[in-house]
Symmetry: C2
Subunit: 638 residues, 2 copies
């Protein structure tokens, strides 16, 4: 077995390695190699080759690094006034740098690349120059005349940025053995401990994030005061101490204490980062009341407010969760960062409980909403991930563009993708006393204490998952909830738990055993709860874990997406993709009904007639790679 790590100042890469109360333990990042030819492994390669360099270019281009240089030069000249003003980007632009650094840290650990060594050294020097004697480091506030640090925690994102710095330092330390960023981050964390401890100012940040970061830094360094500082952040939230802005206290989840705030509400990324932090705290202190609150919150978020693609947040106005079942596909906000945050939270719930449903939702988000947010080039991104784009959509704004953009004024999402993909292999599998658990069915090699599993599969394109085991122990493979009819064949070992949808196949493997799990991959029609008004009378098409969609680009001339009515009685046919969009496409039978000319009219029970058409569906994650055009995930029935 792989014991829960208890290291201090060692370079054991791995996301979120809790010390005390996990059911499952992460594998060290070095213990997993994904197959570069697989979907997930390919995304990691694309991230290394294209997305990380693109982020590095853009934090330079947009002035993020210039914000640090300006302050560093002013300090060198002892002319602080020169440092004032001229800040570029939003208040929290420092975090763009930190998330990019985190991505580099994981990538160094994954691939051993040395291409960023000089950049890292230069940036460490820059941060050392800007960091104040007391440890404070925030180029927005340091550049403002007369602004006291932490004066406006409801909006300045100072602890948020500090948290991303800590997470970057953890990644650089675990991934590449860096000590300089770790020292910078510790000085920041020590300042937080001194300033906001039991006897300090009881502030929290408008944007949760420092909670997970402090706990990760505690895990990396063994410094207990960081864990306690995180605990204080969690316990202080929900007492309405933040100045409520126009979106109210629930925007920051400051409306109720975390044990009572069991409805997912407010800014979805904030809600989900907070939940990840609370779960991390449970993983360390074992407080069951925290876990129970998180389970209720999870039911709210994933049981009543989740998009089929794994997107969260239905309101553009405040980037927020809507009411239960308020899930419009056209105005889905479904921010990329929210799906990443949801994945991070689900990962922690998985570690805490070992339950397959959390891994199921990680996969949903990863292969649909998150995968959709990046172009096939790796250099353009969706911030918002709608499930429908209308014919005639006004895509002129950053808020709801018709195609992915290279960068955003608020650029939180691209470097968040970069740090996720660079550490992605760490989210695929875990270990426990019995053996190894495979959660994401990714092709690759997974090394646990007593056994090594080599996974060969074309998943998610095909359902054949072949695992070859060296050593011995229990191999657990998650069987997706949709996989009714899954079968298993084992060459040498004992099936302990048969493949049941939504649970784990468990096999006690002998050395050299092969375990072949076969999942049914026939396309499926899916509908939503009756209360999801926005998709009433519609179905979506899934195949395996992938949500499919119909794009204008695949429609016959003269037919628009809005005219389609799916005939559910006609089978869906698979066909190979040949243009680099997706290996498996689906051919559907539909009617194209005439467009109407009156917005409102008397109800007539006679159903519309139309012209039969054949339509090709592609995976949702591959949409908008062929120019702007209308798209639908949810198709009305004929």
């Amino acid at each position: 077995m792989q014991a829960a790590p208890t290291r201090t100042h060692t370079h054991t890469p791995g996301p979120a390695a809790p010390r005390k109360h996990p059911q499952l333990a992460p594998l060290p990042l070095s213990a997993v190699q994904l197959d570069p030819a697989s979907l997930l492994g390919g995304r990691q390669e694309l991230n290394a080759a294209a997305t990380i360099p693109h982020c590095v270019d853009n934090i330079e281009r947009t002035g993020v690094i210039a914000n640090f240089r300006r302050l560093a030069e002013a300090g060198a000249k002892a002319d602080a006034d020169q440092a004032k003003g001229a800040f570029q980007g939003p208040w929290f632009a420092d975090s763009d740098l930190y998330k990019t650094l985190e991505a580099i840290g994981w990538e160094v650990g994954r691939s051993g690349t040395g291409q960023w060594a000089e950049l890292l050294s230069d940036l460490a020097t820059l941060l050392e120059q800007v960091q104040a004697a007391d440890g404070y480091l925030n180029t927005y506030v340091q550049g403002l005349p007369d602004e006291e640090p932490f004066s406006h925690p409801e909006y300045t994102h100072e602890l948020y940025c500090a948290g991303h710095l800590m997470q970057a330092a953890v990644a650089l330390h675990r991934g590449g053995g860096d000590e300089r960023f770790l020292a910078i981050a510790r000085r920041v964390a020590d300042l937080v401990v001194r300033s906001f401890g039991d006897d300090g100012r009881p502030i929290i940040d408008g944007h949760p994030e420092v909670e997970t970061a402090l706990i990760e830094l505690y895990r990396e360094t063994g410094e207990e005061s960081y864990l306690h500082a995180a605990e204080l952040q969690v316990e202080r939230r929900g007492h309405r101490t933040l100045a409520a802005g126009r979106f109210g206290s629930q925007y920051y989840q400051d409306h109720e204490p975390v044990r009572e705030a069991t409805e997912a509400i407010g800014h979805s990324v904030r809600q989900l980062y907070l939940a990840a932090g609370v779960t991390d705290l449970y993983l360390e202190n074992g407080d069951q009341t925290l876990l129970e609150a998180m389970e209720q919150l999870w039911d709210s978020a994933f049981g009543t407010k989740l998009y089929l693609t794994g997107g969260h947040g239905s309101r553009h106005r405040d980037e927020a969760y809507g009411d239960p079942y308020e899930l419009p596909p056209d105005r889905a906000y479904a921010e990329t960062c929210a799906s990443i945050a949801a994945l991070q939270w689900c990962w922690r719930m998985l570690l805490a409980t070992g339950q397959a449903r959390y891994a199921e939702e990680m996969e949903r988000a990863l292969l649909n909403a998150i995968a959709a947010s990046t172009t096939h080039t790796g250099t353009a991104f969706f911030y918002s991930n709608p499930l429908q784009l209308r014919t005639g959509h006004d895509g002129s704004g950053e808020d709801a563009p018709s195609e992915r953009l290279p960068w955003y004024d608020c650029a939180c999402c691209p470097p968040n993708l970069a740090r996720l993909y660079a550490s992605l292999h760490g989210y695929t599998a875990t270990s426990d006393a019995a053996g190894l658990q495979l959660h994401l069915l990714a092709a690759g090699k997974f090394t646990a204490a007593t056994l090594i599993a080599v996974v060969e599969t074309g998943y998610p394109w095909d359902g054949d998952v072949l695992v070859t085991v060296s050593g011995q122990g229990e191999l657990a493979i998650r069987v997706p909830a949709w996989a009714a009819g899954a079968t298993v064949a084992v060459t040498s070992g004992q099936v302990i738990a048969e493949p049941t949808p939504g649970e784990y196949l468990r096999v006690s493997c002998d050395d050299g055993a092969t375990v072949r799990l076969t999942l049914p991959m026939a396309p499926r029609l899916v509908r939503a709860d009756d209360r999801v008004d926005a998709v009433r009378g519609c179905v979506a098409i899934e195949r395996g874990p992938l949500v499919y969609c119909v794009e204008q680009a695949d429609l016959p001339e003269g037919i628009v997406v809005e005219q389609l009515r799916l005939d559910p009685s006609v089978g869906i046919v698979e066909e190979p993709g040949e243009d680099g969009i997706a290996p498996v496409r689906l051919r559907l039978s539909a009617l194209a009904i005439p467009l109407e000319t009156s917005l409102y009219q008397p109800y007539d029970p006679a159903s519309a007639t139309g012209t039969p058409v054949t339509v090709t569906a592609i995976p949702y994650h591959a949409w908008a790679n062929r120019g702007p055009g209308a798209m639908r995930v949810w198709l009305p029935l004929a």
Copy 2:
């Protein structure tokens, strides 16, 4: 006939009396008296008794008047510094005062009330004290250190506020013979003419409004330079001269010149005020290219982006129109001010063309979205007018409260309602060379040049409209588009045009004639264009011009609104209302289906079964008068 007014400095009350190019002319306000027992007449009485005093109280309570007093006192003390800062409310808070003044002006003209004389005198003195020597008057900018007037027209609303001052002055002059406010407003208008004329700075305001105001002031004073100033405002818009904020140039309709910008887009109130201003300009200069652009814009707004209730704007984020057919009932923004602006625009299109469709849309807005925005007490208001409130709705914010609120931080809507209701009788009828046109089927007395019509009707509750004519001439009565089967009986005169839905019944009346128009009032099921995804599989219920809804308060114990499925094959039964909510309720047959427990599930063609229930529907405009609770206009079919 009633000639188009050509007065200067005379007290002829009436909204928007164009001089040159109308098809129809407004009646003087004094020529119309609505029956106080009728729905519209009753709303006017409620406005006078409750809403106007409530507005007066609130502009005092919220500091709107204090903003003026502070500057007036500073001026008296010649200590301008004391005036700085401490501004209360949003930048455009002055307009709350001006709209309240406009309401008082119309109300003085309508009822002859003297109750506001002292307030008016005091406020005139206050404004005279604050107004700068050059005519400038804006308490937000005047109170800001170092702020030059009109430096940031994209957000300061200076011309917007100036416009509302002009419209208040016109109302006070027409309604009560006031000269002091008119003089103040003329000094402001003269400043606009001097500063932003052909050779002046080519600025426009981020919020259209001054266009109609300048034209109304021109109509009231005969001063041609005001008309030209309005023309410059219209012609300068659409050239991207306003600094584009995060919502882009289309938010202000500054993305394309008015003749090209034929899709309704951006902030809906701004779009609709602008359209009213452009139409006013057409009414004065006869430029057909303006009318043609307005007709195309109207088709976009009313043909693809209109809520069934007459609401406009489907996006909360930027208070904006969405894409065509993006009309979610739950997140309908449908700002009260947008429906008022739409009514004002339709009125001008009606004057320009004489076409019934514009009056039809005035009625839809007035009896549904606008009527719904005020409580039965007249002292609480909806800003946003959704067509659905979900069970479990978070109504804690001003943005989407579950009940009407007494006031708002951004309080544009309540005084806008007050000014509309005080002048409402002026929108009911017009005259032309042939005679009198009745557009809104309101009970009351209507005096044109050669005939007087007394209308007796319980409309919109019943469909019997009896008109008794004194004098002679052509009487035109609008037959609503839904009124298939309408009949007419005339005692003394000649039917020129039979009652045809969506057109005008026309009768050449002898003295003493009675014309009885009978409209079919059976409840109707209505559906939306197939592209309105948000209400797919649903119908709404209308009776006469009223949209109905189902409220939680009328449901059997243990059933929530979301469970209802309407059976369209069972007739709807009318029943009298007895609790002050509405005179006519409707009894529906529905199924209550069980609530589901899974957000997404495999599609199963079998339809849901449920328990038969009888449900009472009430007019949409009467909802939320019995405590917070779920509500639906659009009901899914069984």
